[in-house]
Symmetry: C2
Subunit: 386 residues, 2 copies
């Protein structure tokens, strides 16, 4: 089959889906989206848009039937049904078999551990007593996690003292997901590495990015990460091993903790382009989105070296603002010529919703940071006054 | 008005319109297209598509009414009617008044000349005797041109000897456009410079690109052009002056001749993003398309410095191939990781039709040239066998 006549189906029409399509369109691909929101970010640039809930199996089957390869922009989807579709012969990347393992953080950790990849100690938790025993041995410190469905810190509860144990347990146990606990890692930095595997098994690894979170949501990514050469190498090697473990085709993001003694441990793995990889649009010749499209359509993978130091900063919906999106300070923000702005086109804003991001590629990290923060201070995502 | 709620209307849905929309969408803009071809390159990424001939005044008015700023991807459009719309209060960039002058090469040359910008000598021609007198004085050498509507060498006739005069005249005089003649410039290189003017009058000038034509169609653009620093400066200064002459808002491309003695003369001016500026997608932080969108929507202009040496090469429909597009050698072409491929998504191919382009950004011009030509040699734009 002529590769370009491969039609791509994407589950999810948010910003990640939109940015995948923008790059797929440059290469001339047809893209269909499944998303319940009519005016989602991907809507106006999709060749077709199935408006249906993500768990609508008829809609998922319809998307698979009208396209040649299925992919997804987030991992909390019906992996079991995708597995059925794959067994029926539909092409889905990354494979639903890898996705099923990754979706469940406990299973993910077990796989990583048995491959010898450094991760925090962890334990499945089925009662408050089990939790209590686990954290008591560790000075009442630990990270309680929903095994399924968490993101942006949701589904996590940091236990800092004995007093936190009960609330942590009752909060997460009532969510309907099984839970697990991880030892608390006193990390000095969070970093992430994008890795992509092609259909032929070829692997490319992007530079290491340094991630700064605010309220458990990614705020800034600084590339290259300000860590030693040794830490860069460890992070790179771990990402490579992770790709071998999951045998996934497509873009994966490996989030890592760096500790004071220079240890590097996997926090979690996402089987898709990732917020911390947005810098690649300007920072690398091949963006994470184009790379993902190349991988899942069987094209050779592109160049991943950094073109220059860069900083990505997320633009979230302002606290206290809810309703039709209105951008303030656009001109002021863009008055820095090295600043590149991305607005996702979400019709409605709310507090902390990811509405866009900005990237500065400059001659040094310090300069990029200063310009990114200056531009960021000028722009606000507000709601129209009712 | 909130700048982002400005809707953009684009006359023309070819590759230039498509690439404008891809960048406008990153910034979150709404884009409507007018193009007679349903499955034109812009179709699937436009928020709205009016399918009508370019000279359909009702359709042009409809596009103006449904958007807040009109622009165009090619200059051979109904500038007179756009002028009427502008006088009625619609916003159109670049201004139809500049467009009317630029459309007519004779008027364009007169404006450039009176501003003291170096151009070849030229003369309006209304009879074969006038033409004969003009070229006789110049050793029977000259370039006869249709004043209106030429592109990619169409509408030009190079007179090389006395024997060419009659055929040149009868060929072009029968085209329905008035004609003019220019002295023949024995140039050693053709270069071009992109220049953009914002709504506030701010101007940015891109690096100088070296253009190599084949069969009068652009084949390669090499940036930076391999000319002296003095020629770079002259080209830059001329582009700046041209922007002042036309007072245009938006992207302009100034095509120039470079002679052996280092003179630089304007060949022609296009009031739009240009094939020779495609390198800016990878080669600069702000592509010519994003820059155009920024200019016409009133946003500050972006960074235009070159990120590294690059080479753009056009992909034309193979000679002898006509019909549904089929790409050969895609995988082989993309096996060079530094090569970026752009395919416009035109359903039908024909000989010499612009179907895509490739760009290589590398560590030296020599390396970029070698990789671009190697990739180019692998890919072919064919037609499906009937």
């Amino acid at each position: 089959m002529n590769i370009l006549s491969k039609k791509i189906g994407i589950i999810g029409g948010g910003q990640l889906g939109k940015m995948m399509i923008l790059d797929a369109k440059r290469l001339g691909f047809y893209c269909a989206t499944l998303d319940p929101t009519k005016h989602c970010p991907s809507h106006s640039i999709s060749d077709a848009h199935i408006i249906a809930p993500f768990d609508d199996r008829d809609a998922l089957r319809q998307l698979a039937e009208m396209t040649d390869v299925l992919t997804y922009e987030f991992e909390h989807i019906d992996a079991e049904f995708l597995n059925i579709l794959e067994d029926e012969g539909y092409t889905i990347y990354p494979s639903p078999k890898a996705l099923l393992k990754i979706q469940d953080k406990y299973e993910q950790n077990k796989m990583l551990k048995s491959a010898g990849i450094p991760i925090p100690d962890f334990k499945n938790i089925t009662s408050i007593d089990e939790l209590n025993d686990y954290v008591k041995d560790r000075g009442f410190k630990g990270m309680l996690k929903s095994r399924l469905g968490g993101y942006d810190g949701k589904g996590n509860y940091l236990i800092r003292s004995e007093a936190d144990v009960e609330e942590a347990y009752t909060t997460l146990a009532s969510n309907g997901s099984p839970i697990m606990v991880e030892e608390f890692i006193p990390f000095i930095m969070e970093v992430s590495v994008l890795a992509t595997r092609g259909i032929e098994g070829d692997i490319v690894i992007y530079p290491v990015g340094e991630n700064i979170h605010k309220n458990s949501i990614l705020d800034e990514t600084i590339v290259p990460a300000r860590v030693s050469g040794e830490v860069h190498k460890k992070a790179h090697d771990i990402a490579w091993k992770v790709m071998e473990v999951f045998e996934g085709v497509g873009m994966f993001c490996v989030e890592l903790f760096v500790t004071e003694d220079g240890s590097v441990l996997v926090n979690e793995v996402a089987p898709r382009p990732h917020n911390s990889g947005h810098y690649t649009i300007e920072g690398c010749l091949t963006s994470q989105f184009e790379q993902h499209i190349r991988a899942i359509t069987g094209l050779p993978l592109g160049h991943v070296e950094l073109l220059g130091p860069c900083v990505m900063k997320n633009l979230l919906g302002q606290e206290g603002e809810f309703g039709k999106t209105r951008i303030e300070g656009l001109v002021e923000c863009l008055s820095e010529p090295e600043l590149k702005l991305h607005l996702y086109g979400k019709e409605e804003t709310k507090a902390f919703r990811k509405m866009g991001h900005l990237t500065v590629l400059s001659s040094s990290i310090e300069e990029a940071l200063e310009k990114a923060r200056q531009g960021y201070s000028q722009i606000k995502i507000m709601a129209e006054k009712g």
